[in-house]
């Protein structure tokens, strides 16, 4: 019954989305206030129904109802509860349902809380959102019904890729989805503003929390995904420039640019066309990225295979939405008045530079990701990887860091270059200090990590300077957010540069009882022992690891999953204040020695700490912005009601 109820809920929600779109169009076209006023309630109910349908699917997975095809194919009775629930969105149909759910809920959220925007622009926005939802509803209902039954039900389900049975990954896809969908809301706002020719600071302020929230989730998702790949795949790397990773990085880059340009529009009424364009691009990147990954068009480590019918359907949706928005942009933006102008040395100019550099990086990532596809079209098989991206993106990213150090110290509208240089004295001193510290090691380090470390030091100091001389208690929360996020960039870059410059790697084959030195650690191989888990068995290598007088035992494992048959390497990682010791157990050689892969990675944890700080900064900025809006609104209402002068 649950499955049928879920399907009915889905159909109802889809009809309401259609109604929402029709009402928005008719209401706006014929100026019918009565119809316009009914759009908000419809959006709220539509969101609720979709959420209930998702709830039904989660319930089916939690109960392992094997008469439902999707459950039978992606779950298993023996699977731990957490992964049963995560299984609900760890597959094609479920992830699409999760997408419309978040889309519907955010539509309901706008309908409930958004009061700043001109009512007609808001209705156009809700109409655009309904149009996006309809596409995905049609996709779910016509070609990938998550509630389809199977008869007779199998005795047990087919399980889930064991690599994906990890707490980090259970929540990695939904986090990214929140980000993608947040960008779809920004996209809808942009479409609404274009339709109504209403690109104003009020529009920017309405869009900003969604862009900020989306960025926050994308940052968290990418950071968590990077750490997952690092410890789960056992390759010791934290970023592989895999198409899947690029698919999440591209919207993040666009969202980062959007976040900064929307501030110019909200505060100074500048960069109107550019901000609208970025809102369109950011969502386009999430759709293109998801499509490339999900359709199996690009071969990737974690490609999902989708049959051509579904692929064509998704591609048609994508072409319709993005193509439509870009055409609307080309037609309408000419009639949007030019925004405020600014000096070449000003906060605005700094933000424009930030936007341009981020766009360059975005363009390079896009080209690098699509190039194999172009080559494939010409009959050549190749992949574009780390060497290309490191060489092209590394230098641009370093220039971006310099801009990032200067930017927050600039004044709006116009600034004096000499005064700016005076403000930069402390960061420059920090850079020189870092250079001095690095001289003894400089021989063995390549140029990019070296510059990265120096700039990280300068940026760390520069990012705190906006707080200098301020009353810290009265500093608004969003300023704290900016400072912490920028400091997070410095911390993450320091981690990346340090990992790249100072990592020590040993690939050895050891007899039991032998030992080897890696960085500051002495690793002894004490033997292997059998290990058993919920739905896997395996062997663990017992490593006694010592540094100074302290000894710890690490047990990297090889796990064998029976359903489906898969082997995974479970790395064992020792985290200490100044880095991580990363150990992986490999194959047994015929002569009885065991292969071990060992890395000492100084300060590598800073990468994810920095990512976390960026997300925290985003959260503070979001709370600060929304809080301030809310306080002004309350104050205005009190004045209107005569409580306050």
């Amino acid at each position: 019954m649950i499955a049928e109820t879920g399907l009915v809920l889905l159909w109802l929600a889809a009809s309401l989305a259609l109604l929402q779109l029709a009402m928005a169009i008719i209401g706006l076209r014929f100026d019918r206030a009565d119809i316009i006023s009914a759009v908000r309630p419809v959006a709220i109910v539509q969101g609720l129904l979709t959420a209930l349908a998702m709830g039904a699917l989660i319930l089916l997975f939690a109960r392992t109802d094997l008469s439902v095809l999707l459950v039978a194919e992606n779950s298993n009775v023996a699977k731990p509860m957490l992964y049963k629930i995560a299984g609900a969105w760890g597959n094609h149909e479920g992830s699409m349902l999760l997408w419309v759910t978040i889309l519907g809920l955010s539509g309901a959220g706008i309908a409930l809380f958004e009061r700043r925007l001109a009512e007609r622009t808001l209705i156009a926005t809700l109409g655009a959102q309904a149009l996006i939802s309809i596409g995905f509803f049609a996709f779910l209902l016509l070609s990938s019904n998550p509630f389809a039954r199977i008869w007779p039900p199998p005795a047990d389900g087919r399980g889930l890729n064991p690599l994906l049975q990890d707490p980090g990954l259970a929540f990695h896809p939904p986090t990214l989805y929140f980000g993608y969908v947040g960008l779809s809301v920004a996209f809808s706002f942009a479409v609404g503003a274009l339709v109504m020719r209403d690109v104003t600071p009020a529009f920017a302020r309405a869009m900003r929390p969604w862009a900020l929230g989306a960025w926050l989730f994308l940052t968290l998702g990418i950071t968590a995904g990077s750490y997952w790949a690092y410890y789960e795949l056992g390759w010791g790397g934290w970023w592989f420039w895999d198409p899947v990773e690029n698919a999440s990085l591209m919207p993040w880059l666009a969202a980062t640019a959007l976040l900064h340009s929307v501030t110019v529009l909200a505060t100074r009424d500048g960069l109107r066309a550019w901000t609208v364009m970025l809102a369109v691009v950011a969502f386009s990147m999430s759709m293109i990225g998801t499509f490339l990954v999900r359709s199996g068009v690009l071969t990737s480590v974690h490609a999902f295979a989708v049959d051509p019918e579904r692929g064509s359907f998704l591609l048609a949706l994508l072409a319709l939405y993005i193509g439509g928005a870009l055409a609307l942009f080309a037609l309408r933006i000419g009639s949007v008045r030019q925004g405020a102008l600014f000096d070449p040395v000003s906060r605005e100019a700094g933000l424009v530079l930030n936007n341009l550099l981020l766009s360059v990086i975005l363009g390079v990532v896009l080209i690098g990701t699509l190039y194999p596809l172009v080559a494939q079209g010409m009959g050549v098989q190749l992949s574009v990887g780390k060497p290309f991206f490191d060489k092209t993106i590394g230098p641009v990213a370093l220039i971006l860091m310099v801009a990032l150090a200067f930017g927050p110290l600039l004044r709006w509208r116009s600034d004096d270059p000499r005064a700016l240089l005076r403000r930069m004295r402390a960061p420059v001193a920090a850079a020189l200090f870092a250079l001095g510290m690095l001289v003894p090691f400089a021989r063995g380090i390549s140029v990019l990590p070296l510059i990265g470390l120096i700039l990280a030091a300068a940026l760390a100091v520069a990012s705190i300077l906006p707080l200098w001389g301020r009353n810290l208690r009265r500093t608004p929360l969003f300023t704290w957010g900016m400072v912490i996020a920028h400091l997070g960039v410095a911390v993450a870059v320091a981690g990346m540069a340090s990992e790249s410059a100072f990592t020590r790697e040993r690939l050895v084959a050891l007899h039991i009882g032998q030992g080897v030195q890696v960085g500051p650690y002495r690793v002894g191989f004490a033997g292997v022992r059998p290990e058993v888990g919920d739905n896997w068995s395996g062997i663990g290598g017992v490593l006694t690891v010592s540094r100074g007088g302290e000894t710890v035992t690490l047990i990297p494992q090889q796990r064998y999953f029976s359903d489906p048959v898969t082997t995974t390497n479970e790395s064992a990682i020792l985290t200490v204040a100044d880095g991580q010791l990363y150990t992986v157990l490999g194959e047994r050689n015929p002569d009885g020695r065991w292969q071990l892969r060992l890395w000492w990675k100084p300060l590598v944890t800073l990468i994810w700490l920095g990512g976390g700080m960026m997300a925290l900064g985003g959260l503070l900025a979001l709370i600060g912005r929304v809080g301030r809006e809310w306080r002004t609104k309350r104050r205005r209402r009190r004045i209107e009601m005569g409580y306050l002068p």
């Binding site: 364009m277 490339l292 942009f329 080309a330 494939q376 079209g377 098989q381 047994r588 015929p590």
Partner: protein, 175 residues
């Protein structure tokens, strides 16, 4: 700003969609292309692994008849998984030579007793040198060699049931 510039993003996007649409309707091809395909088999002499049959010598691959070279090891689980498929190929009269990588006669003997023995010859490659020379990165891998010592196909990973027709076709073409 020039008005036509506003249409550039749409054009770029249309190009991407076109490219993806074209790629999507091309049948999926999972073959790994090796630089070795089309090249001559490097000459190698491998000592026999077992007492009951000879090892591998370069002259074998210049006798006008195509042969398979299967790189395997007794310590490799996927090698056991492809045993029935190799047996099937051998039953159809295909000559299969094995390069046993980093292995011992006892282990190889036990492996063949347990999983079946499709091999015409077995050479011992104690250091994995031949494996490297062939451009092979792991076990198992299978090469189709034509009668003139040229590599015509490389199959990476275990041979599955649905790979057999492709391998037979390559052998037929090489004749």
């Amino acid at each position: 700003m020039k008005r036509w510039l506003l249409w550039v993003p749409l054009l770029v996007f249309a190009g991407v969609v076109l490219l993806v649409a074209m790629e999507m309707h091309r049948p999926a091809d999972r073959t790994v292309f090796s630089r070795m395909v089309g090249k001559d088999l490097p000459a190698f002499d491998l000592k026999p692994m077992l007492a009951d049959r000879p090892g591998i010598e370069p002259a074998l691959y210049h006798q006008g008849k195509p042969r398979l070279v299967n790189i395997f090891a007794s310590w490799c689980v996927p090698c056991a998984a492809e045993a029935p498929e190799l047996a099937e190929l051998a039953k159809r009269g295909v000559a299969i030579d094995a390069v046993a990588v980093r292995d011992t006669p006892e282990d190889v003997g036990a492996f063949l007793k347990r999983w079946g023995d499709p091999y015409a010859r077995i050479g011992s490659d104690p250091m994995g040198r031949v494996q490297l020379a062939l451009g092979s990165s792991g076990v198992p891998e299978t090469f189709v060699i034509d009668g003139k010592g040229k590599i015509v196909k490389q199959h990476v990973g275990p041979i599955r049931e649905d790979d057999i027709p492709g391998i037979l076709a390559a052998l037929e073409d090489a004749r």
